[in-house]
């Protein structure tokens, strides 16, 4: 099954780190991504640009409303994601637990919907 690991964290926390600390975290993410790839479970993923780049779009009565800012105004914001392919939720959870994002924020694990039958 395919799962998406959604990494939520406080953006302000990142900018508050020293550059040595930032390097440390980046190295941890890189190692994690390599481990996913080596285990042949990585199917995609990326970090996201800052929430200051977020734009929300909604069409109401045929008119599109475009707003500056993220959809959810919470302290912890989506900062990146991985898509992995593993046999079951337990395997997905154990990869989520290894993700550096789980130690400085939270990782939400969601199964991707199965593709429609041929």
């Amino acid at each position: 099954m395919q799962y998406i690991l959604m990494l939520y964290s406080e953006e302000a926390g990142w900018s508050g780190l020293t550059s040595a600390e930032q390097k440390h975290w980046m190295a941890a993410y890189q190692a994690y991504t390599e481990a996913l790839a080596k285990a042949n479970v990585l199917r995609g993923g990326s970090h996201l640009e800052s929430i200051s780049t977020a734009t929300t779009v909604r069409v109401v009565n045929g008119k599109s409303q475009v707003l500056d800012g993220p959809f959810m105004d919470s302290k912890e914001q989506l900062g990146g994601y991985f898509i992995i392919e593993v046999p079951d939720l337990d395997a997905a959870i154990s990869w989520a637990a290894r993700c550096p994002g789980a130690s400085h924020g939270v990782v939400e694990v969601r199964a991707l919907g199965a593709p429609p039958a041929p």
């Binding site: 099954m1 079951d88 939720l89 337990d90 997905a92 199964a111 199965a114 039958a117």
Partner: protein, 416 residues
């Protein structure tokens, strides 16, 4: 054979198979499809077919295999009907072949433990785990489960459906976890079984059939787990704890139906066979070298039994056990019981001081035993006005009429 006699025989065979094998069949089907709801639907259709077919053709020599074969066909239908978009035809084909091979086996492998681990998975909401296990392993209807858990059948039904959808869609595995993660994962299974037991236990008369049955069913599950995992000390501890409670169930009421507290119970009215079994389980658990919540709780029951039987006070030992239990699972409920034991070793004043620390815990505001314990301790220190008020709150929170009357008698026995 007249068709009527055939009907009766078919029904009784089907009933016997249902009792013996329902959980095994659901577990077996669900483990292969990861779809508990579809497994249950298919099996109930298979039972319906059996009731239609067996009176005409006679009961098959291997009814379980017959049911499994029919359920397999139904499962494929159910799968196609319900979610053609979710499961690929090739996958269904594989599934059907696997099941066909399994149905030919003389004995269906027992995967009820795997089913229980799926139902009590940490990704499943804690309060629905016990109902899920009761339904999956024992085939209890939502209606019966809901009344024991004080909720409406419709609400319980909806929550069960939601949990089963999560099992399927989130890909929760139906398997017994690896040795390294087993103890932690087993805890959630044992907690769910104990929750089912305590819901049943709330009816000490055994007059409420639904509740009484539920504690029997929970006992069956605890036995099953301890048989399937004989070297898991906490599984043995849980069964020992439940046996201790069950052994004294009837002693909690006198002939007039009034509540009898432990200290006033006649040890001769306890079920000594159950107590003996509990003690043996606890001894075996203690050789397995890993202490836990259920073993400690069972050891406390054992200490209470010993004290009541011999008349020798063992409160220091009881306080020690509560200390260990509190260190392991620091719940306010444990702290209340610990304070009552401290009252016996250090006096009611010290016990009240120990309890003072709990006063801020909002969970205790609605916990009857906390107020009853407070009332009892306040009475002993002579703070009668406060004791009367604490009794009033305890009485207001109690739902068992016999216990309510008991507390009312205690309250009115206070000197004016």
């Amino acid at each position: 054979m007249s068709s009527r006699a055939g009907d009766a025989q078919a029904r009784s065979t089907a009933d016997a198979v249902a009792r013996r094998s329902y959980g095994k069949l659901v577990a077996f089907l669900a483990a292969r499809t990861r779809d508990m709801a579809a497994a249950e639907d298919a099996l109930s259709e298979a039972f319906a077919s059996a009731l239609a077919d067996w009176p005409r053709s006679g009961c098959p020599p291997n009814p379980e295999a017959w049911l499994l074969t029919v359920a397999r066909r139904k499962l494929i239908d159910v799968g196609r009907r319900r979610r053609s978009g979710e499961i690929a035809t090739a996958q269904l084909q594989l599934l059907a072949e696997g099941l066909a091979a399994a149905a030919a086996e003389p004995e269906i492998p027992d995967q009820r433990l795997a089913l229980m681990f799926a139902c009590a998975h940490p990704a499943i909401e804690a309060s629905i785990r016990a109902p899920l296990i009761l339904q999956g392993v024992l085939g209890l209807e939502a209606k019966r489960i809901s009344s024991a858990f004080l909720t409406s059948p419709a609400a319980m039904g909806k929550r069960l459906v939601r949990a089963k959808n999560k099992l399927r869609q989130a890909g929760i595995p139906f398997r017994v976890p690896e040795r390294a993660e087993l103890p932690g994962r087993l805890d959630t299974v044992l907690d769910a079984i104990y929750a089912a037991f305590t819901e049943g236990w709330a009816d000490p008369d055994g007059t409420d059939v639904v509740r009484r049955d539920l504690s029997e069913e929970a006992m069956f599950l605890a036995r099953l787990v301890s048989e399937l995992l004989p070297s898991a000390p906490e599984a043995l501890g849980l069964l020992a704890l439940m046996l201790h409670a069950e052994a004294r169930r009837r002693a909690r009421r006198n002939a007039c139906g009034e509540y009898v507290p432990l200290a006033e119970q006649d040890p001769a009215s306890w079920n000594s066979q159950m107590i003996g079994e509990a003690e043996a389980l606890l001894r075996r658990a203690s050789t397995l070298g890993s202490i836990g919540r259920y073993q400690l709780e069972a050891a406390l029951q054992s200490a209470h039994v010993h004290r009541c039987r011999t008349g020798r006070a063992n409160w220091a030992e009881v306080v020690q056990l509560y200390d260990a239990l509190f260190a392991l699972a620091g719940s306010p409920v444990v702290a209340v019981n610990r304070a009552l034991a401290i009252a016996e070793t250090h006096g009611a004043g010290t016990a009240l001081e120990a309890m003072q620390a709990l006063a801020a815990d909002v969970r205790l505001a609605e916990y009857q035993p906390y107020w009853a314990a407070r009332a009892e301790l306040l009475t002993r220190t002579g703070a009668l006005g406060e004791a009367r008020r604490a009794y009033a709150i305890a009485i207001g929170l109690e739902r068992d009429p016999a216990v309510r009357r008991f507390l009312q008698r205690r309250q009115s026995a206070l000197p004016a």
